[in-house]
Symmetry: C2
Subunit: 195 residues, 2 copies
Amino acid sequence: MARTQGSHSEITGPKLREAARSLFARYGYAAVSMRQIAAEVGVQAGALYNYIPDKQSLLFDLMKTHMDELLIAYDGHMRDGAPIDQLKQFVGFHIRYHAERPEAVFIAYMELRNLDPGNFAQIEALRRNYEARLEEILKAGVESSAFQVPDTRIAAMALIAMLNGVNTWFREGGRLSMAEIETLHWDMVRKGVLA
Amino acid sequence: MARTQGSHSEITGPKLREAARSLFARYGYAAVSMRQIAAEVGVQAGALYNYIPDKQSLLFDLMKTHMDELLIAYDGHMRDGAPIDQLKQFVGFHIRYHAERPEAVFIAYMELRNLDPGNFAQIEALRRNYEARLEEILKAGVESSAFQVPDTRIAAMALIAMLNGVNTWFREGGRLSMAEIETLHWDMVRKGVLA
DNA sequence: GTCTATATTACGATAGAC
DNA sequence: GTCTATCGTAATATAGAC
């Protein structure tokens, strides 16, 4: 510690993203200054521009990376099975994956309006992509008569909204464990879509 | 029009709140300047301080008023009945009331982190108050064996999260009417809690 | 009650030394 | 790659004229 000058490209880059993720999640993109981020990283504000062209790119990078990783993780996690099994996998994956990275999740849906139009369109496309994967499960369940869902699009959005709710209040060490919360939600989801 | 000076206390006050509500909802509290609000109202920025002590008070006033009115409207809307009927009333009330004032709703849950600590505590108390009313319905239903809900607190939060989801995508004139959306959600809620 | 003008502070971003 | 210093702009809020 205590070195105030010198080259640190391999650590400053990641630290910059971590600091921005933490601060944006807590105070919001518009309320956080480049100077605050720099202080958290341990450099002066000007030094940040060796890593990013501007503040907007930093926000976009965080959101794009989060969505890309979400889709990759989802595809790696899912196994074949009946619609009811796939739905259970989705619920478990969604709750746990999001609970493990609350900051990125929070930013991804609170800061959409602070994205430039072109950036917004890209993130929106990824979000719809994820939503569509749940809808496909619901559609398959309706076709096999396992589910009774009058409108799979609405149901997919409603279920994701419900599952996202966990992220607004869950804290490690609270009254319920993550596993219990998962069970309780799966119970409601299952009953809600079953024929 | 075209009068650029003079007294307008009876219209400027409400116009100020309307402008702030609209701009905060669209761009976020931190991203909106007093000058922007003043331009929307049709006065200079300094004139706004005849109506509010500072920007923070303006945000708090919008959120406090919204929550107060929500609770009053809820109490005026609810009628006695079996838990299942009360739950249906809650779902209908919540979806419609929130759909009618999307800006205030959006602000009420996106701008919580921009409230000063004392203001935050007040709004949080009102929000928990509203949530508790749904939980009471669920508890009554469990006691009468009409509902099977293992954890009424979690279920209340999950259901409200699901219903709030409507506000993030509903637009008048879309594929589905408000009544259809209400029916679809009631269908899921009902099945999700029934014994 | 609103205006113009301004005090004070902070912002994002850049330039040039090391 | 990071520093110090700074450019140009804009923020909240206030003062005093009308």
